[in-house]
Structure formats: C-alpha cells, structure tokens
Symmetry: C2
Subunit: 185 residues, 2 copies
C-alpha cells in the first residue's frame, strides 16, 4: 500500500505503460523508491480495479500492444490524501555498507571491487539525473526556475538524487583510498 503512492506520483503528469514505468523506476524514481517490474504490473492491476487508474489499450504496429495508465480523479484524491499523512520513516537496505561495516572480517578485494562498481553506477546515475534536470530547467537558470517553474516537486527530488550520488562518489573514492593504504595489493 505504499508503492501505490510512488506510482501515482510517477504517473500523475504523464500517461504511461507498465514498461515505461519500469524504466522510470530504474532511472529517476530510483532516487526514492525501488520496485521490480513484477511489482509494478501487479500494483497497476489492483489500482485499476480500485478505480485509482484508468487504462486504455493502444494497438501498435511493430510491437506488442500496450496498456497506457492514467490517474483518475479518485487517484488524484488518494494522492492528495497521502500527502496529508506524516510520511513513514525512510527505509534503506544497502548491502555494500553492510560489507564495509564488516570490513575487518571481509574479503577485502571483493569489497573493493563492489565499491568500484558502485562508484561507476553512481556516476551513470548522476549523469542521468543531470540530464533530467537540464530538461526540466530548459533555458532557465535555477534562480528563474525556482521563482516561476511549475515542476518544483520533480526539481527537488532530482536535486536530492544529484547530491546523493555526488556524495556516494566522494565517499567511494575516500573508501578506495583508505583501502589502498591499509590493504595494499
């Protein structure tokens, strides 16, 4: 009952297929919610059944048909109601940091490789976020956008994602330097 709010937020200003949403969840939404395609499809079904979404089938020529979902008035109302409630505390699950916490008992080369992989991943995400931000801003500066832009919400979540990934990269580099020094090889 929580994924649905993320879906409403992701769908609210753009009709999308399950597949589109899966992509969006891999890229921008990944910033604050993670979900597998299976979860999405299941939840979309339920939400349609409950009247939060409406779906229409679009026949396609060279691809399988797809179903485009959009938020209904009831969905909009549910989203508004959700924003009136105090949000649940954030939950995170970061196996890499568990491995780092256990460093003294860990296989250091594996952990080092995992940190490197994560730094790479963060760099990619950072680029994606920055492209999205540029798209939102258009030709305006941050200042102009903040004063007059209308996609303030996505702007803010993107900013959060950007600073998060920057910190991630910085932290990863620090960790690698320290590992290099303490466990050379």
């Amino acid at each position: 009952m929580a994924l649905r709010n993320a879906l409403l937020a992701a769908l609210i200003d753009r009709e999308s297929s399950g597949y589109d949403l899966a992509k969006k969840f891999r890229v921008s939404v990944a910033n604050f919610w993670t979900a597998t395609p299976q979860q999405l499809y299941r939840e979309l079904e339920k939400m349609e059944a409950e009247g939060l979404l409406s779906a229409r089938v679009v026949k396609q020529d060279k691809r399988p048909d797809k179903r485009l979902f959009s938020v209904t008035d009831a969905g909009r109302a549910a989203l508004h109601a959700f924003t009136r409630l105090p949000p649940k505390p954030t939950t995170v699950r970061d196996e890499l940091l568990v491995q780092v916490e256990a460093l003294a008992y860990a296989d250091v080369p594996s952990v080092r490789a995992a940190i490197e992989a994560q730094v790479k991943h963060s760099r990619q995400r950072l680029e994606t976020y920055e492209r999205s931000l540029a798209e939102i801003l258009g030709s305006r500066t941050d200042e102009e956008f903040i004063a007059t832009g209308n996609r303030i919400g996505p702007y803010l979540t993107l900013q959060r994602g950007i600073s998060f990934e920057r910190e991630n990269i910085g932290w990863g580099e620090l960790a690698l330097r320290i590992l290099e020094r303490r466990f050379p090889g």
Copy 2:
C-alpha cells in the same frame, strides 16, 4: 536472508541482547539498514538455531532476564562468505520524497511540516553519528586513524551516514526556502 548479514556485522565485535540491537538499529545501523525489533528477534532465533550465533541468558536483578548473543565461528565464516558476493543494489523507500515529487497535487502545509520534521530528525542523527565518530577516533586525528586505526569499517559507514545527513539537512532547508517562496503562508 539479508537482515542476517546486517545482524552479523552489528554483532561481530560486541555481544548484545535483542534489545541492544534494536537500539543499535535505531541509531548507527539505521544508516544502511532498517529493521523493527520483531524482525530482529525472529532472525536472532533462526540464526541461533542454525549455529551462526550462540546465546547465553543473563539474570538481572531489577529487570527481566536477557539473552546475550554472540557470533560463532560459523557466523564469522558466513559473514566472510557474504562479503565475497556482489552486494545487491541498494533499495530505498522514502515516502517524504514521494510526497515532494507529487508537490503539485499535495497538501503543501503537511509536506512542509514533514520536511521540517525530517530536518530535525537528521540533525539528531547527525549529532549521534558525530559522537560515535569521536568515540572511534579517540584522541587521534582522522589522518592518524586512517593510517593506524583498526575500526576502519565502522569509520567508513559513519562517514557515509554523516555526509548523508548533512546533505539531507541542506536539501531540506533548500526545499523549505523554495516552498516559502512559492507557497507562502
């Protein structure tokens, strides 16, 4: 099967009761893993049954008895094996950011209050982390510690927590300024 690794990491250099762990998960571990007390107790039982932990009962005078768990050799081996595997991608669930993403359809005063609450919470966590860091460092500087300290793992995860909470605070303040400007009241 994932919480268990976080538990092994949390227990590895200190025998603790379920209650102690619940506290530790609220404070330091919260940085990279969240779990409720119920989850902890259940998992501790299983892990003891599987020989990853050993437990001893300590009778107490003015409180209920408690069971102190410590990691066995098998547990240490399991933790090491875990660190050899590539960590699963991080998952997050942040309802506050979902609400912010949906700002245009949200109840703005509620969201503003939620951001304020989160900033306060982050300030508290930041203080906690900084205290823990000072404890780990003792009288050493960061430089000295990095060169010679032996709790490198916890040092790194704490650093990650600290920078995360700082970013959180900065982001929250930015968001509040923007809300103030765009939705005054």
